[in-house]
């Protein structure tokens, strides 16, 4: 379904490539976690897959299409096949839950009849039945992420990419979200999830791909967040890092959060750039 062949990605004005000669194959119907420290290349991997960025060298195939050769006008077709969710939800603040989900179908020209059928069905699936008329600011973080998931899957894409989807959520809510993703996976959707969250990874026991400085350092089925033999100090650090993420349902931009999340700041900046592009 998604195949990286010796993929390298270099950003301009950066010495070290974000991804360096990655070989990776994710089959149809798989559920794979991408783990690794911030800056290890997780987000780059996601952005290459929806062709927000283009690989510098190597080959990246999604559903059999070589993204590097894909003409610009075909990119929207690709993105209809690949749902995406992010840490910051990216909902439209002036639209209701229902409108946010319907918007995704409207802008790709789906007929009104299909929208009327698909939106309630999807809201039901993500557990938001009865909240159709709420505005995003009236929802908790977990609920907002559910709206984002509904929007990502309402068009029934075969692939769902999740870039730190629980990064702004408390542990209990994070688990709920991941269980929802597992349900979506059970209906046949291929899911690739980049995450920091060891609890989630350990709980689901799915394939784990670990990135470090743009290299794959580990790829195991039924893996856990950290390799079996690990220094306890590392584990503590990871815990500490996670604790910083705990402010529940927070939509506070990372620059307003406690210091210590330096890497997340970089990611926020990247996202802001995307919006302006």
């Amino acid at each position: 379904m998604i195949r990286f062949e010796n993929v390298t990605k270099r950003y301009p004005n950066q010495n070290r490539p974000a991804l360096d000669g990655i070989d990776l194959n994710i089959d149809r119907g798989e559920f794979a976690f991408i783990v690794g420290a911030s800056g290890s290349g997780k987000s780059t991997l996601v952005r290459l897959t929806i062709r927000e960025e283009i690989v510098s060298s190597g080959r990246l195939l999604v559903g059999g299409h070589d993204l590097r050769k894909m003409p610009q006008r075909k990119v929207p077709q690709l993105r209809r096949q690949v749902g995406t969710i992010f840490q910051d939800f990216r909902l439209l603040p002036n639209k209701t839950v229902q409108q946010n989900v319907a918007y995704a179908l409207q802008v790709i020209g789906r007929p009104r009849r299909a929208i009327r059928a698909l939106v309630p069905e999807t809201l039901e699936l993500v557990g938001l039945a009865g909240m159709e008329k709420r505005m995003p600011h009236e929802l908790s973080g977990g609920e907002q992420q559910r709206v984002a998931i509904a929007r990502a899957v309402v068009n029934k894409p075969p692939v769902l990419l999740a870039d730190e989807p629980t990064g702004n959520l408390d542990p209990a809510t994070s688990l709920d979200i991941v269980h929802l993703l597992r349900r979506i996976h059970d209906s046949g959707t291929t899911i690739v999830m980049a995450t920091h969250d060891n609890v989630i990874v350990d709980e689901l026991k799915k394939r784990v791909i670990e990135l470090e400085h743009g290299h794959i350092v580990r790829d195991e089925e039924g893996g856990s967040y950290v390799p079996k033999a690990v220094d306890n100090r590392d584990l503590d650090e990871l815990e500490a890092e996670r604790d910083d993420d705990l402010d529940e349902g927070s939509t506070v931009p990372p620059q307003d959060r406690p210091i210590g999340e330096v890497h997340a700041l970089d990611e926020w900046d990247d996202d802001a750039e995307d919006l302006l592009r």
Partner: protein, 302 residues
């Protein structure tokens, strides 16, 4: 096209009201200037067509005390007049019709043509020389006839109508040039303002655009509201410019010049505004589409 596309465009215009108004006004002014330039050119063409078709060779004869070098200070003799008349007769069929206008007739005609002018009261019989009014079968052959009588005995002057009109046409051409120059400058600012508006609108709607890109909306879906918005402000500006041109033409030609100088003297009218209006409208639509396409291509890559 889906109604939501127009709803988006309307929403965008409403949200950026002040900047939309400036686009409309600048477009209006530039198209107004352009329209004035075009109308001035139509006026020149119209006058050329009107006067050159009717061009008559006027052969003015000498009068007593005439100052023209060819005259000896005395009125042309009957012999000299007869000789001119005979020579004209020889030039048929180029000469279609000859009419002799006496001093008295010339005086009466002047009185009638310029009855509102203060000049009329200061003129007396004999101030305007008698003349042969010659109608040509081919007005282009003016020079041939004129040169034959230039300097003939008893002939005071053979004024060339084109020379009479040349300064007027030159003046109108200068006005046209200035108008079109200003129109080009204001059109450039209209285009830049359209581009700025689109960038600003794209910034205001960056969340929506980001999500549209994410869920795979086609470029056309993303860009159409911006293009419609730009076309709409351009067209509103153009319609206002046409209205203003109509009022100008109505006040200047239909109301003033036709009133004071009588109909059929080669002036344009409000009808000419309707002739140039479609060009202005089509022009502004093309400009709006071009500007928005280039701007969006630069600022809204997928």
């Amino acid at each position: 096209m889906k109604p939501s596309v127009f709803a988006d465009a309307w929403e965008g215009l409403r949200r950026n009201k002040s900047i939309a108004v400036s686009v409309i006004l600048v477009t209006m002014i530039s198209l107004y200037l352009l329209g004035v330039g075009l109308l001035a050119q139509r006026q020149v063409d119209q006058m050329k067509g009107y006067w050159y078709d009717r061009v008559q060779v006027s052969i003015y004869m000498c009068t007593d005390g005439a100052l023209q070098p060819n005259c000896t200070g005395e009125a042309a003799t009957q012999d000299q007049k007869d000789s001119v008349a005979a020579q004209l007769k020889d030039m048929e069929p180029l000469v279609k019709d000859v009419y002799y206008e006496s001093e008295k007739e010339a005086f009466d005609r002047f009185k009638k043509d310029y009855k509102n002018s203060p000049l009329a009261s200061n003129i007396s019989v004999g101030d305007i020389p008698p003349s042969y009014r010659v109608q040509l079968s081919d007005p282009e052959q003016f020079e041939t006839v004129a040169s034959a009588f230039e300097g003939a005995p008893g002939v005071a002057s053979v004024p060339n109508l084109r020379q009479v009109f040349a300064p007027l046409f030159r003046a109108i051409n200068i006005v046209t040039g200035v108008m079109i120059g200003l129109a080009v400058l204001t059109l450039v600012s209209a285009v830049l303002l359209m581009a700025t508006t689109i960038r600003q609108a794209a910034f205001t709607r960056r969340r929506e655009i980001a999500i549209m890109k994410l869920v795979g909306a086609s470029n056309r879906t993303i860009r159409t509201p911006f293009i419609i918005e730009t076309i709409a402000s351009g067209v509103i500006g153009a319609v206002m410019a046409v209205g203003l041109l109509w009022v100008t033409a109505w006040a200047l030609f239909d109301k003033y010049l036709l009133h004071t100088q009588g109909a059929g003297s080669g002036y344009i009218s409000t009808a000419d505004v309707w002739i140039i209006a479609p060009f202005l409208l089509v022009g502004v639509v093309v400009l709006a589409i071009g500007t928005s396409t280039v701007t969006l291509w630069r600022y809204l890559r997928v």
